[in-house]
């Protein structure tokens, strides 16, 4: 997916961006003595697709995980769709059911069938009836292109299929925001495309997405904004065209020269 011609193409998405759905102000986070986030301030608008790139250890995964409080931040404020993320458990659970996340390692539940993997939260958080939940599961699996796998267990599926199930599981909660934490990094090369295609389709449908990835082709083709992080800070951000063709910061130029 490092097709250079994509750079010339303007973003294909023509929908208007909505209100500010994620607002971060001076977010800081420490792991012991090590400061992972050194003051992140940014906003994401509804339907925007933000791709975060950066070297490993730059804090991009940590930042993504603070957005649904899998990592609690130590300082600063994070407001998701008008609700502040803090120690109030009710806020946290409300936000989590509206923010879907897809992990690098899929994290499907190995003891449950694909159907139960997807319907678990529907029946236990949304309190749907089993029959209604199953209808939704079938339609979601059709959307990610694997309806025939419904009765299998995760271990019986390929990596790409598992990641598509993980996306379907997150979508089942009808989230307003989807977070992707290096969704293709654990996949064999031939399976990366099927997952990126699903993500592309999701972006087309107007989903707000924050994606940590090393897939530059996806970043160029789908993102509204690229955010480059290093050492716990946002170094530079801009549209794909600006970012890839005219990077301003030296660190950005160095990083781009190493990966492209």
């Amino acid at each position: 997916m490092t097709d250079d011609t994509v750079i010339e193409a303007p973003p294909t998405r023509d929908h208007a961006l909505g209100h500010e759905i994620i607002v971060c102000r001076d977010v800081k986070k420490w792991f012991g003595d090590f400061q992972a986030l050194c003051g992140i301030s940014t906003t994401v608008r509804e339907s925007e697709v933000v791709v975060i790139i950066g070297p490993s250890g730059s804090g991009k995964s940590t930042f993504l995980r603070t957005l649904n409080r899998l990592e609690p931040h130590d300082e600063g404020t994070i407001i998701i769709d008008g609700v502040e993320l803090n120690n109030d458990l009710r806020n946290v659970e409300k936000i989590r059911s509206e923010v879907g996340i897809v992990f690098q390692q899929f994290n499907l539940f190995p003891h449950l069938t694909i159907e139960r993997n997807i319907s678990l939260a529907l029946t236990h958080v949304r309190h749907l009836k089993k029959s209604d939940a199953k209808e939704l599961v079938v339609s979601l699996l059709e959307r990610v292109g694997i309806p025939e796998q419904i009765d299998k267990y995760p271990a019986q599926l390929s990596g790409g299929q598992q990641q598509r199930v993980a996306i379907a599981r997150a979508l089942a909660m009808q989230p307003k925001i989807m977070l992707f934490d290096e969704p293709t990094s654990a996949l064999d090369p031939e399976m990366i495309k099927e997952v990126l295609d699903v993500m592309h389709e999701l972006a087309e449908s107007g989903m707000t997405m924050v994606v940590v990835t090393h897939e530059m082709g996806f970043a160029k083709g789908v993102a509204d904004r690229i955010m480059f992080m290093d050492e716990g800070l946002i170094v530079e951000q801009g549209t794909p065209a600006e970012f890839f063709e005219a990077p301003k910061e030296d660190r950005t130029k160095l990083f781009l020269s190493q990966i492209l």
């Binding site: 649904n68 899998l70 659970e93 409300k94 989590r96 059911s97 923010v99 879907g100 996340i101 992990f103 390692q105 994290n107 499907l108 539940f109 190995p110 003891h111 449950l112 069938t113 678990l120 939260a121 236990h124 958080v125 267990y153 995760p154 271990a155 019986q156 599981r169 997150a170 909660m173």
Partner: protein, 418 residues
């Protein structure tokens, strides 16, 4: 030998094959040859003496004459119906469960039945044959009654119902033991009191083992979860309990529950002027308590190992879906944790089952105690070997069945393992 290699291998007469196998495996060197001959001699002698004892010299009358003692101790004959009713209830529930979950194969009961043949030969007579047969019939009837439900839309309902029947049946069978004599109506009538000193034999062993397992398992899971809790008070309590109990021999706990706890409960006293009535607790109940408290600590440590084996990402995935802490634990973490530790759990259950023989120190006549009483009776003096062999067989049949059942369970739950 695999199917593919067969056509290639030259067909040899069987005695040549046997000769070559023996040369390669048994007589490959002079040392091995000596070892083989000595081993065969010892095994042959043991087998000869063993079968001569079992089939010729042993006086099995001691078992036949003491059937009641071995199976139920001094339980009054007039009250045997209680045991039979319980047995029928268990048979029905087993039949239902078997079909509704359907995780066990038919090989298991066949193995079990075969191993039980010597027991039938000795133990069944008159009414016992009838009631044993009706128990088996009740099992089969329940199994086939549940047959059509397995794949119908009532399956989940039936499963819930069966689980509740198990729990209620267990409580109904056990509560009178725990509460007597304070709450039940007095002597006489349908539920007249059978003093626990009269319980005994296999019946007592099974009651202790089943209660021990059924109660200590959930308690152990709670302790393990508590130990992993983020609340310091709960965590410290659980750690303290587990470490304290594991540092004390089982026999000490049994003694303490019998001599200290039971007497303390019986003691009439007053606190701040409020009189506290003494409360007579049965010895069997105190023994159960001892086993439960002891076993729970070990089960907690086993389950803790399982909890630690569940990857962090599983918990995060559950939380990210908006599931609460208890839901993540019950729906995601515990099912995976328990599955991972089935072998260790079952061996803990088996050792608890065998440890019940320690109740002889509380002067209860369990299966082991019976095997010491029976050869002390006039007419059977000194027939220890017969009695011990017989109860050894019973212990083995039950422990082996548990082990096979656990393997089956593991295989069936293994679906979808990574």
């Amino acid at each position: 030998m695999t199917a593919q290699s067969r056509p290639i291998a030259p067909a040899l007469p069987p005695h040549v094959v046997a000769y070559r196998w023996a040369r390669a495996n048994l007589f490959s060197s002079p040392g091995n040859a000596v070892l083989t001959i000595v081993t065969v001699a010892i095994l042959g002698l043991a087998a000869y003496q063993g079968s001569r004892f079992v089939f010729a010299t042993a006086e099995w009358e001691i078992i036949e004459a003491n059937r009641g003692l071995f199976f139920t101790g001094r339980f009054p004959r007039d009250e045997f119906w209680r045991i039979w009713v319980t047995l029928h209830g268990v048979a029905v529930l087993f039949g239902l469960s078997w079909r509704l979950w359907g995780t066990l194969s038919w090989r298991l009961p066949l193995v079990f039945a075969a191993a039980c043949v010597p027991l039938y030969v000795f133990m069944l007579e008159g009414w016992a044959i009838l009631w044993t047969s009706t128990s088996i019939a009740a099992f089969a009837a329940a199994y086939f009654a549940a047959w059509p439900v397995r794949f119908s839309r009532f399956r989940d309902l039936a499963r819930n119902l069966t689980v509740w029947l198990w729990i209620l049946g267990f409580a109904a069978a056990m509560l009178p033991t725990a509460l007597y004599p304070s709450f039940l109506p007095g002597q006489g009538g349908l539920f007249s009191h059978v003093p626990d000193r009269e319980w005994g034999g296999l019946f007592l062993t099974m009651v202790l083992a089943i209660v021990g397992i059924a109660v200590s398992f959930p308690l152990g899971v709670l302790l393990a979860v508590g130990r992993a809790s983020t609340f310091p008070v709960i965590r410290i309590f659980c750690v303290a309990y587990i470490e304290m109990v594991r540092a004390v021999p089982l026999i000490t706990i049994l003694f303490m529950s019998f001599f200290i706890l039971r007497l303390a409960i019986r003691h009439e006293t007053s606190i701040l002027g409020i009189p506290i009535t003494g409360y007579e607790v049965s010895v069997v109940f105190m023994a159960m308590l001892g086993f439960v408290l002891f076993s729970a600590a070990y089960i907690a440590e086993i389950v803790r190992g399982g909890l630690q084996a569940v990857p962090r990402g599983q918990i995060e995935a559950g939380q990210a879906l908006g599931l609460g802490g208890v839901q993540v634990l019950a729906l995601i973490v515990l099912p995976q944790a328990l599955r991972a530790v089935i072998p260790a759990l079952v061996s803990q259950f088996i050792s608890l089952f065998k440890d019940t023989s320690l109740v002889f120190i509380l002067a209860l006549t369990d299966l082991l105690a019976v095997s010491r009483i029976a050869p002390a009776q006039p007419g059977f003096i000194g027939l220890h070997a017969e009695a011990l062999l017989f109860i050894g067989l019973i212990y083995w049949v039950i422990a082996f069945s548990m082990s096979r059942a656990s393997q089956q369970l593991e295989r069936n739950l293994g679906v979808g393992e990574r």
